[in-house]
């Protein structure tokens, strides 16, 4: 039987115009990653300033310069539809690598913020 769980990993952006590299490890009982979603405690900054590269199990899910706004879901979206579905992802080394870049945008001014990556995973249970 398959169970669906959701995990959260945080990146703290303390400096503007910076790139942060973080690696997160998935639990051993996770068999597949099926969706990803970005949120923040300052969604305006994530929306306007953020871009990232995400690798899961050494497979590039989104490339460098892929804008964070393309992985956000607003309040208008049903909780069941908020995740961006990904395919072909089986967890091998169970590592999630995120390279997050903050860059200036004329519609926002920097202050420290948190970026949260939510990951939707499948667990095989007997």
């Amino acid at each position: 039987m398959k169970q669906i769980i959701k995990k959260r990993f945080d990146i703290l952006v303390k400096l503007g115009r910076s790139t942060l590299k973080e690696t997160f490890e998935l639990d051993k009982n996770i068999s597949r990653v099926i969706g990803i979603l970005l949120t923040s405690d300052r969604e305006d900054l994530l929306y306007h300033r953020g871009s990232q590269k995400i690798e899961i199990n050494s497979e590039e899910i989104v490339p460098e310069k892929y804008e964070s706004k393309l992985l956000l879901s607003g309040l208008n979206v049903s909780p069941n539809d908020r995740f961006y579905k990904i395919s072909n992802t089986t967890t091998g080394n169970r590592m999630i690598k995120v390279e997050y870049t903050d860059a200036d945008d004329g519609r926002s001014s920097f202050s420290p913020y948190r970026v949260s990556l939510y990951v939707e995973c499948e667990i095989e249970t007997l």
Binding site: Y66, K69, L72, S73, L75, N76, Y84, D105, G106
Partner: protein, 155 residues
């Protein structure tokens, strides 16, 4: 089906500027299946003449025109006006746009890719971008456009 995303960033700095650019796609590409774009302003866009940007009815502007070519069966396979929201939380009261569900980072829908089904003729896609927002406000506005092409790859 294995998919891949390719990004390309184009800088615009002058009013009515036209930029030609190339996007390299992998040799194994079977089809271009989708496109997305994002716009980032280097200038503080809200500083110029704040009043038109604050009107809720007029918060989305055409930023630029985009065209792409390089398909097997049609020369120009994509043409679109790139639009974005210019509302800045600094330049307007939160209350008014919130009432109208207009703040993009809170009330927007999912950014799904725009679906395409294009067989490329080579590993290079040619593009053309023309500034519109600078012409609209009659000044040089500096911004970058990141185009993300989703492609399907042969096994």
């Amino acid at each position: 089906m294995k998919t891949h995303i390719i990004t390309e960033t184009i800088q615009i700095q002058k009013q009515s500027e036209i930029k030609h650019f190339d996007i390299r796609i992998p040799e194994q590409t079977e089809a271009i299946i989708g496109i997305q774009y994002g716009i980032r302003f280097q200038d503080e866009i809200a500083r110029v003449d704040v009043i038109p940007y604050d009107e809720v009815i007029n918060d989305h502007f055409i930023i630029a025109d985009l065209r792409l070519q390089g398909a097997k069966t049609a020369t120009w396979f994509y043409a679109s006006e790139l639009r974005d929201n210019l509302l800045s939380i600094k330049s307007c009261s939160f209350y008014e746009p919130a009432q109208n569900n207009n703040i993009p980072f809170i009330f927007h829908q999912k950014h799904e890719m725009e679906k395409l089904n294009i067989q490329p003729s080579s590993t290079i896609i040619n593009g053309y971008i023309k500034d519109v927002i600078g012409k609209t406000f009659n000044e040089h506005i500096s911004y970058s456009i990141t185009i993300s092409l989703h492609v399907s790859l042969s096994a």
